[in-house]
């Protein structure tokens, strides 16, 4: 069952939960007419009057005393009912008529003390009975009229109650519909969108972007997923590019080695002897290059598993700088590496790694100043730490690319005409990892078109100056 269906069911349940008790409550707020309260009394009144009528029969039986007491009792009861009726605000003419009639009948009965009923003639007796009959009939009439009025009131009451309840029903219905749409838009649909996006990402499709951008938790979930998708996309693309670049980079030195050896196969002794020095230098150079590339690739995967361990020793930094600059100077004829400052100082670090860092920086300087020129190296002590800088007058790093330069696989000149400068994009990433692991910092200043200065710091050995 989809969440939309579930939402719908939940809504129906809420609707019923609101409606049923609500209706009862609403109905109770409808004003009950006063007159309905005395319906019972009216029924009783009529009943008593009927009794009275029947009691008239006793006069014929000449048991006046007993009849009289009965009549008086009934009459008193009728008076109570009439008083209650008066209290309820029923129209005056009704209870006044009843009052009058009741008084008349009572006087009739009370008057019988003084008179002797047995002395009454038959005609006189008949007259008495008919008078009482008439009056009680009047009262019964009034009672019936009152009852029908009450029926009408009851009808009106029921109608109004129905109206209230129906209004309530529609109000709740409208609220429920609004609430359904609200929940749908702000909860259900976003969740469905998120599900679609994440499913896509799981399948390796990074193109679907979460569309909404509310400022609530679902919105930030959406943004987090977008960011994750983007990172994955970049990483996947970078990795693919890295692999393709790595394959290409590795094949180039191999091609040189192969061509060198094949050339020599086709040479006679004399040619071989002449060619040998160049061949050997080339082979050496290419093997170094291959090794560097292989190491880079391994480092990148090793760092992924965080297995790199530093083997720190005390060594002379100035000697390292000398050796590296000497070797790197030979790499390019158009470039000259100049050491402006080289302080004799001992550092406690992994010499191999630091060498790799320095080689990487110098390599970059050469690669990214294609016109040739000088690369200045300085190694000095500043604020209790060693600082090494490498400065070139090359093409520089574009400002918008600068903040990502230490990222794995990132090549700042991707998409520019310098894109094809052979580089796998891992050198700076690795360099940063190494320097940071030593507790040092690495950074740069660069102006596009003017040049770049890279620098790194290392803590000094405990043996130095303490």
């Amino acid at each position: 069952m989809s969440i939309k269906a579930k939402l719908f069911i939940a809504n129906i349940l809420m609707f019923l939960a609101a409606l049923i008790p609500g209706s009862v409550l609403v109905k109770s707020y409808v004003e009950v007419p006063q007159s309905l309260k005395v319906t019972r009394n009216i029924y009783s009144l009529v009943h008593e009057l009927t009794l009275l009528n029947n009691a008239m029969v006793d006069i014929r039986l000449r048991d006046v005393k007993r009849a009289k007491n009965q009549w008086i009792a009934i009459s008193n009861q009728i008076e109570t009912y009439i008083d209650e009726l008066e209290d309820t605000g029923v129209e005056a003419r009704y209870y006044e008529t009843l009052n009058e009639t009741n008084d008349l009948i009572r006087r009739l009965f009370l008057g019988m003390d003084t008179a002797d009923v047995t002395t009454l003639t038959a005609e006189q007796r008949k007259f008495l009975i008919s008078q009482v009959n008439l009056k009680t009939h009047d009262m019964i009439m009034v009672g019936h009229i009152l009852l029908s009025v009450m029926q009408e009131d009851l009808q009106v009451f029921n109608n109004r109650a129905l109206q209230y309840v129906l209004s309530f029903f529609f109000l709740v219905l409208v609220i429920m519909i609004l609430e359904y749409f609200f929940l749908n838009r702000y909860f259900v649909n976003p969740i469905i969108e998120l599900e679609a996006c994440v499913t896509d990402i799981g399948k390796g499709n990074f193109d679907r972007e979460v569309p909404f951008a509310e400022k609530d938790e679902l919105g930030s979930l959406g943004m987090a997923i977008n960011k994750m998708r983007n990172d994955l996309k970049v990483l996947t693309t970078s990795k693919e590019e890295f692999l393709s670049t790595a394959a290409h980079e590795l094949k180039t030195p191999i091609t040189v080695l192969k061509t060198t050896s094949q050339l020599m196969e086709g040479m006679d002794e004399k040619e071989v002897v002449n060619f040998l020095p160049y061949a050997l230098k080339t082979i050496n150079r290419q093997c170094n290059q291959l090794n560097k590339l292989v190491v880079d690739v391994l480092e990148v995967s090793r760092l992924e598993l965080e297995q790199t361990e530093l083997r720190k020793t005390d060594f002379e930094m100035s000697k390292l700088v000398e050796d590296v600059t000497f070797d790197m100077d030979k790499v390019s004829e158009r470039h000259k590496i100049v050491v402006l400052e080289n302080k004799a100082v001992t550092v406690f670090a992994d010499r191999t790694r630091i060498e790799e860092v320095l080689v990487n920086l110098l390599d970059n300087s050469i690669k990214y100043s294609p016109g040739g020129g000088e690369v200045e190296v300085k190694s000095s002590v500043k604020d209790d730490s060693l600082q090494v800088s490498v400065k070139d007058q090359g093409i520089g790093i574009p400002k918008e690319r600068q903040d990502k330069i230490f990222e794995r696989f990132y090549r700042a000149h991707e998409g520019t005409s310098y894109e094809q400068v052979t580089s796998m994009g891992v050198g700076l990433f690795l360099s940063k990892q190494f320097i940071n692991k030593h507790g040092g910092e690495i950074g740069f200043n660069s102006v596009e078109g003017k040049g770049t200065t890279f620098y790194f710091t290392l803590p000094l050995s405990r043996k130095e100056g303490l």
């Binding site: 180039t252 040189v256 192969k258 061509t259 050339l263 005409s417």
Partner: protein, 121 residues
Amino acid sequence: MKDKRILIVEDNSDLSMLTKLALTKVGYTVVCASNGEEALKYIETSGMPDLILLDMKMPVMDGWEFSRIYKSRFPKSAAPIIVMTAAQDSEARATEIGAEAFIGKPFELQELFASVNKMVS
């Protein structure tokens, strides 16, 4: 064969030097350019060679851009191109840019000679 001129467009100086050496030994005249821009300049100043060996990945102007400009600027006099590259998908791309042949790196010298001889004659 001495009158046949080959232009090598390759940024790796070791490789272009070695290839030049190999081709010179079998009697060709060989000139090297280190990127597409240099190659175009050479053609403009010294005329169209008989064959161009083109690497794809070079700085400043790569193989793709070079061949595009080359084909539009010299539609009639264009010399044949043999693409030399290490990337895998370049075979398809080579036909895309209208190269006449394709040599993958690393290559056998015999392979190179066979292809060159075929294109030049």
